[in-house]
């Protein structure tokens, strides 16, 4: 029992360090990648190819002055970045990166856990908007709550056919099912499309990044934050991207399972599949416009939710006829 506890603690520590490292280099990938999409070079002055840029950024952020706005609600103002940061970090715990032991918490409700925890991070964003005592953060926070009402249903509805098909909420079981029967992106392509679009909203990435919309809202919900509190939000935001991409890779692309009968290497295959989604989101980010939040809600309720529901019924019929493999 003690040994189990110790092992989980070590795994959690490793995961947290890995996620923070991934965050540091996702900023590099993001800046270099976006730069290439815009025919620029991106940061290349610190170290070879600018690879030490995240370290320089971190040092700069630490030495920045930490500002508390006069009108801010002190307690919530401090709490909001912690909430956003903690839940963003915790969400990854249920995603398996390899066979049996390679997951921090092998939960039977793994899918629900990841959803629940990453949605809780929205409280961080909303409280930040509320506690800043300033109009732009408030608007950003309200938008993110409004978006939550929109995409969350579609997200849940898109995941139901997957769960029906595999008969489990455990992510390890879902990966095992895909190992046996082929990737769910082939079985559940409409669900994947709906899930991907809703997921863009969940990660608050283009075209649904209106919560921080720098052209209209200065910096949205974190306008009044500086120094490490700002960095906490930044980490939370990018960790959503990281976790969301890993979850999509797990649900629809077979997770850590090796494709085409290649040898099993625990972290490698999930990483490569994860990279596909990271690139896809970055690509969309560089290409598309930003929707208004009412347009997004109309789209989520009017297109995504009905589409997901119809596909859910089709899958349910298929499973009920004994098609579940």
């Amino acid at each position: 029992m003690i040994w189990q506890l110790f092992l989980t603690a070590v795994k959690a520590l490793v995961l947290i360090l890995a996620l923070l490292f991934a965050f540091a280099y996702i900023t590099w990938i993001m800046r270099r990648g976006l730069a290439r999409f815009q025919v620029r070079l991106g940061p290349n002055r610190v170290g070879p190819f600018g690879l030490l840029q995240p370290i320089a950024d971190a040092v700069k952020a630490i030495f920045k002055e930490d500002i508390t706005v006069e009108r801010a609600d002190r307690v919530l103002y401090w709490l909001a970045p912690l909430i956003a940061f903690t839940f963003a970090l915790a969400a990854f715990a249920a995603i398996p990166v390899g066979p049996d032991g390679w997951v921090v918490a092998n939960l039977d409700m793994g899918v629900l856990y990841v959803f629940a925890v990453s949605e809780l991070a929205v409280y961080g964003i909303f409280l930040a908007g509320w506690a800043s005592g300033s109009k732009y953060p408030l608007m950003g926070g309200l938008r993110s709550i409004a978006a939550l009402v929109g995409y969350e249903l579609a997200l849940g509805m898109a995941i139901l056919p997957v769960v029906l098909m595999t008969g489990s909420l455990n992510l390890q079981d879902i990966v095992a099912w895909q190992q046996k029967h082929g990737y769910l992106i082939l079985w559940q392509f409409p669900a994947f499309l709906v899930y991907f679009v809703a997921s863009l909203a969940e990660m608050s990435r283009t075209p649904f990044d209106f919560a921080e919309a720098e052209q209209e809202l200065v910096a949205g919900f974190h306008t009044e934050y500086a120094s490490m509190k700002f960095v906490s939000f930044y980490i939370a935001e990018l960790l959503h991207w990281i976790t969301g991409s890993a979850l999509m890779a797990t649900l629809f692309l077979g997770g850590w399972a090796a494709p085409f009968g290649l040898p099993e290497v625990p972290v490698l295959w999930l990483f490569l599949k994860w990279a596909i989604f990271i690139f896809l989101v970055l690509w969309i980010w560089a290409s598309w416009f930003r929707t208004r939040y009412d347009q997004m809600i109309r789209f989520a309720w009017g297109v995504l939710l009905p589409a997901a529901t119809v596909w859910f019924l089709i899958t349910a019929y298929y499973v009920a006829k004994g098609g579940a493999l």
């Binding site: 730069a35 290439r36 999409f37 815009q38 025919v39 620029r40 070079l41 290349n44 690509w283 969309i284 560089a286 290409s287 598309w288």
Partner: protein, 177 residues
Amino acid sequence: MSVMALAKALGITLRHFFSRPVTVPYPDAPVAIKPRFHGRHVLTRHPDSGLEKCIGCSLCAAACPAYAIYVEPAENDPENPVSIGERYAKVYEINMLRCIFCGNCEEACPTGAIVLGNEFELADYRYADFVYTKEDLLLDAVGSRPQRREAARTGKPVKLGFEVPYVRPELEGVKYE
């Protein structure tokens, strides 16, 4: 908004992703400058005699909208003339902080003595160092004042951060390399 338009947008950005970045990594690689770029001024000389073209008439100072130029003329010694006319510029100063690089001085000059060159790397530390005198402006001086100071300190030749396809004829005798 159609799905085709969205796909087209993705195609365009992907094409750009695989094209060469247009960024010039400036201090490492030279900037390509157009021949008519308005840069630091040069006081030119007559190519064969080597005499200065400037006759100290102060028309450039009069034309200058920023009052950046100061000229103090003196009579030429007929035995050993500095310029070809009766007079020459004993003192010729341009304040590079005031100068707006408009080129009016070049247009006003009756002898084509003051010409805007192509150098632009003028950054320095003290206000006083931005007042360029004759020795900084005559075409023998390659590089700006801080660049030449740096070259004298390290013993290396002046390194210019740009290249021009050809030096325009008004700048006859100026070498950028």
